[in-house]
């Protein structure tokens, strides 16, 4: 069954799809977004129930394979030390993200020129700065101006509380003379744009029942829909079709009833993340594009970047924040920029993650052997409860073509669409960076008073950030989209998600994904008269 043609068809209603839809809405074009997931009901988020920690192991798990909702698709990540994490809904993975909301640093756009690795981006920090600021307003970014690790930038809302955990670790950083600063976060610390302020539920990564965390279902989407954008949920796109001129003509998708439909469109915008986008492009084969759409460079699906993460937690004698408060707190950029004496290039951010709930405390203690079975369980548990805090190190991942997304020849979703297959190897540079990060974090924790250290490196379940698989660039032989997000091969096809990242930086990507989406939307609006030239 065919639908009436639309002007712009956006695939995916997550971080980038929401931003590009909102920005393009002021053109008054007919814009439709197809989203495979549902609208979420915040009243049903885990923090409304006594089983709030338990549901993170089940229907709100970060792994689509474990979660197994009908709105999910399976991912074969058995050949990767890091498993893919995502969420499929209006709001996408912002439903489950912690709300860490750093910008890239100026140096992140120039890694080849500065450090001789990867490639430079075809744009720079200065170009994106106004779009970062626009995204900050839409998101309601909380933070503290004046961070010496960044060029000047304003925060929209006050920073999240340091709490006992932040205070304790800040003293550790100060003791060593190392940088730290209250984190920029997507957690509203005051009422903002119809959202209420954070009340320290502590369950941010299972969805925010308070609506304080800026998932795009409650930030961009209400504005975009009031401006006329239509969102169709439970619509899973199988492939993009092309006409005889080599232009995208629309998409084939399955609707909520499983019916196959075709939606014609003048412009198609991909916003499905660094795994979902190459999956659809590689599945969109034709006589003109036998290797998948927009893939004349052969780079669709290649250069997959996660952020290798290490978790380094300390055990303290005094009571800290524990289960209370958002996971976001303070960060350190002490080791962000390259210093080759460390044995690796590029760097990482430490993000302090405050504490953990009663179940997570038990799991941490029992699985690490610190809480025994039997009569001693209770005393040992109380030695850890509300006494664990620490940090993660989010390490820059450099692009390598052998790290890639392909189509699995056997595994498929409920509609028979091939599942993505991940092949990923941790580089020697990443291993050295992770080891260094664990060692330095242990020093901070000891300086702050920790009596014991628990670390995991890399975090096996931590493939939260999916980047690089349809990179942007000026050279069609070395990139998939141009410097303003348009496919080199298909001139009415745009990509706005993390796929287009050239390098990963050592920070969470959402703020940059959204700034890029707003920038690309702005470029589209400025070029409407000759968009396909």
């Amino acid at each position: 069954m065919a639908e009436q043609p639309v002007d712009v068809l956006i695939i995916g209603a997550g971080a980038s799809g929401a931003a590009v839809a909102w920005s393009l809405a002021d053109t008054r074009m007919h814009i439709v977004c197809l989203e495979q997931g549902d609208w979420m009901n915040p009243a049903e988020y885990p923090s409304s129930g006594r089983d709030w920690e338990s549901r993170a192991f089940g229907d709100m798990a970060i792994s689509p394979n474990r979660r197994g909702r009908p709105t999910d698709y399976p991912v074969n990540d058995s050949n990767s030390p890091i498993a893919v994490a995502n969420f499929n809904a209006v709001g996408g993975s912002t439903i489950l993200y912690a709300g860490h909301f750093p910008r890239f640093h100026p140096s992140d756009f120039r890694v080849a020129s500065l450090d001789g690795v990867g490639d430079d981006w075809p744009l720079d920090y200065e170009t994106l700065e106004p779009f970062y600021a626009e995204d900050d307003r839409m998101t309601g970014v909380s933070g503290l101006s004046g961070d010496p690790a960044y060029p000047a930038k304003q925060s929209v809302l006050p920073p999240v509380p340091l709490g006992k955990s932040g205070d304790t670790l800040a003293r550790g950083f100060n003791d060593l003379g190392w940088h730290w600063w209250p984190s920029d976060t997507a957690v509203a610390t005051a009422a903002h744009d119809g959202r209420d302020q954070c009340i320290n539920l502590g369950a941010c990564t299972s969805g925010c029942a308070q609506g304080a965390k800026a998932s795009t279902d409650i930030t961009y989407w209400p504005h975009a829909m009031r401006a006329g954008v239509e969102v169709r949920t439970r619509c899973r796109v199988r492939e993009i079709s092309v006409n005889d001129d080599g232009m995208a003509s629309g998409v084939w998708y399955y609707d909520a009833d499983g019916e196959e439909r075709f939606q014609a469109a003048e412009v198609v915008v991909m916003a499905c993340n660094g795994v979902g986008t190459p999956r659809i492009l590689l599945n969109s084969t034709s006589e003109q594009f036998p290797d998948g759409l927009a893939n004349s460079s052969g780079l669709v699906g290649k250069n997959l970047m996660f952020h290798p993460y290490a978790s380094i937690q300390g055990i303290f004698d005094e009571e800290l924040d524990g289960f209370r408060g958002p996971g976001v707190c303070i960060w350190s950029k002490e080791f962000y920029e390259t210093d080759e004496s460390r044995g690796f290039v590029r760097g990482f951010t430490y993000e302090i993650n405050r504490g953990r709930g009663p179940v997570a405390t038990a799991m941490t203690g029992m699985m690490s052997g610190r809480i025994p079975w039997g009569a001693e369980h209770h005393r040992a548990y109380r030695d850890l409860f509300c006494r664990i805090t620490g940090m993660v190190a989010i390490c820059e991942d450099l692009p390598e073509e052998h790290n890639r997304v392909t189509l699995d020849p056997e595994l498929s979703d409920i509609h028979g669409i091939p599942a993505p297959k991940i092949d990923y190897t941790l580089s020697e540079n990443s291993r050295r960076m992770l080891d260094f990060a664990v060692e330095r974090a242990s020093e901070v924790l000891r300086a702050a008073g920790a009596t014991d250290i628990i670390s995991e490196s890399p975090i096996a379940a931590g493939g939260w950030h999916l980047m690089g698989t349809a990179r942007m660039g000026k050279d069609p032989a070395r990139s998939v989209v141009n410097e303003w997000g348009r496919s080199h091969d298909v001139k009415n096809l745009f990509i706005v998600d993390g796929s287009i990242f050239v390098t990963s930086a050592g920070v969470n990507p959402t703020r940059t994904i959204q700034a890029l989406a707003l920038y690309i939307a702005d470029q589209i609006k400025k070029r409407l008269a000759n968009l396909f030239d």
């Binding site: 923090s47 409304s48 129930g49 006594r50 089983d51 709030w52 920690e53 338990s54 089940g58 640093h105 100026p106 140096s107 992140d108 120039r110 020129s113 500065l114 920090y125 503290l144 004046g146 010496p148 690790a149 960044y150 060029p151 509380p161 340091l162 709490g163 006992k164 932040g166 205070d167 800040a170 003379g177 940088h179 730290w180 600063w181 009340i199 320290n200 539920l201 502590g202 369950a203 029942a209 308070q210 924040d321 289960f323 209370r324 950029k333 002490e334 920029e337 009663p358 179940v359 405390t361 038990a362 799991m363 029992m366 699985m367 079975w373 039997g374 009569a375 369980h377 209770h378 109380r382």
Partner: protein
């Protein structure tokens, strides 16, 4: 009816259920000192069984491993052992590194640490986080003075 007959949607038969109760009770026993029940307490164990119904495979596999230990070390299935041998088999199982042990520990922890009596013992109100939320201290931003004094560290590009 045989005790090995599954007559409900419970994926465990009676002997498996009994073995699981013995495991979780050994994992987290009751404590008078902390005024907390055992994880085998009827209310908590019923909660555990609800969770097991959703993800039975690792628990069933784990219990099979316990039976293997019982057979090899004590000459019979776990259900046929005396109390002392059962305790020894469970102790061996807890140290076995069995791949399914994590699931049993996880389900036990998930249910035990949301029980009213346990939360009260920990000083927590027996309620979900929302809608009341929690208090967190603002903290001391004057701790930033040395960071500010050090000055800019970002790299020109």
């Amino acid at each position: 009816m045989s005790e090995d007959t599954i007559a409900t949607d419970n994926p465990l038969n009676a002997s498996q259920e009994s073995a699981l109760a013995a495991i979780v009770g050994a994992m987290i026993p009751a404590s008078e000192e902390y005024a907390v029940p055992s994880a085998a307490d009827p209310i908590i164990f019923a909660d555990i069984l609800t969770l097991v119904k959703r993800h039975p495979e690792p628990v069933v596999e784990g219990l099979a491993a316990l039976d293997d230990i019982a057979e090899s070390r004590h000459g019979g299935p776990f259900s046929a052992l005396g109390d002392e041998d059962k305790a020894a088999a469970i102790a061996a199982f807890s140290q076995s590194g069995n791949q399914h042990l994590r699931a049993i520990v996880s389900m036990t922890a998930q249910c035990y640490y949301r029980d009213d009596r346990v939360m009260a013992s920990l000083g927590m109100e027996p309620r979900p986080p929302f809608p009341k939320g929690f208090e967190v201290e603002q903290g001391d931003l004057s701790l930033l003075d040395p960071v500010r004094a050090r000055g800019r560290i970002w790299r020109e590009a």
